[in-house]
């Protein structure tokens, strides 16, 4: 199992969503993808995208304007 970290801090629509998808495509089943970002809408939309792809969200951490979403591929 590998962990892939994606940093989208400061990036705006649609970059966080696209970068998350790019990482998920590279990840193998069982891998974990961790996306960090500051774009507010993406915090809602990344879990939405994972749900429609049938992927599990392990957790969402938030600290001031920054969020971190952990996804199981």
């Amino acid at each position: 199992m590998t962990t892939i970290e994606v940093d989208t801090r400061g990036e705006t629509c649609p970059v966080p969503l696209v970068e998350c998808r790019k990482a998920l495509r590279k990840a193998k089943p069982g891998d974990e993808v961790i996306v960090t970002g500051t774009h507010p809408a993406s915090k809602k939309e990344i879990p939405m995208a994972c749900e429609s792809m049938g992927l599990e969200i392990i957790g969402i951490d938030e600290e001031s304007d920054e969020w971190k979403i952990r996804i199981k591929r």
């Binding site: 990036e11 705006t12 649609p14 969503l17 998350c20 998808r21 995208a49």
Partner: protein
């Protein structure tokens, strides 16, 4: 992953090209497939060096409005069209170039960014592409 977004990119305006690419990239990020059908003024943007050439659809003011919007976009850290296109291709997005437009406007394949284009086709290609699509737009 059977659901798909198909967009006809008819306009070559910068802001509309942004709309098309953002929706297409967003679709693929949500797990869908996406195809862009470039026709008329849209196809002009697939020419070598043509991607960023389009004016604003409104308030272009001979390029001044576009310049202002671009500087605001830079401040907001909006990705350039070139990057959106690279991401689109990397995510497996499909691009179709309209052959009739090429004939009307006298555009040759070698004038286009052929590395982006997956298919050259006419209306049948669009209909075939769009008939099983969940989202289809004309921009």
């Amino acid at each position: 992953m059977s659901n798909k977004t198909v967009i006809i990119v008819h306009s070559g305006d910068m802001d509309k090209l942004y709309s098309a690419l953002i929706i297409a990239n967003g679709s693929m990020s949500m797990g869908m497939e996406a195809s862009l059908y470039f026709t008329f003024w849209g196809l002009e943007r697939l020419k070598k060096g043509g991607l960023e050439k389009g004016p604003l659809s409104k308030m272009n003011f001979l390029g001044l409005g576009k310049w202002m919007v671009k500087s605001r976009m830079k401040k907001a850290n909006v990705a350039p069209l070139e990057r959106m296109m690279t991401d689109f291709k990397e995510l497996g997005g499909k691009i179709i170039a309209c052959e009739m437009t090429m004939e009307i406007m006298g555009i040759k394949q070698e004038q286009l960014r052929t590395e982006w284009i997956d298919e050259y086709g006419a209306v049948g290609t669009y209909v075939h592409e769009a008939k099983d699509a969940e989202i289809t737009l004309f921009i």
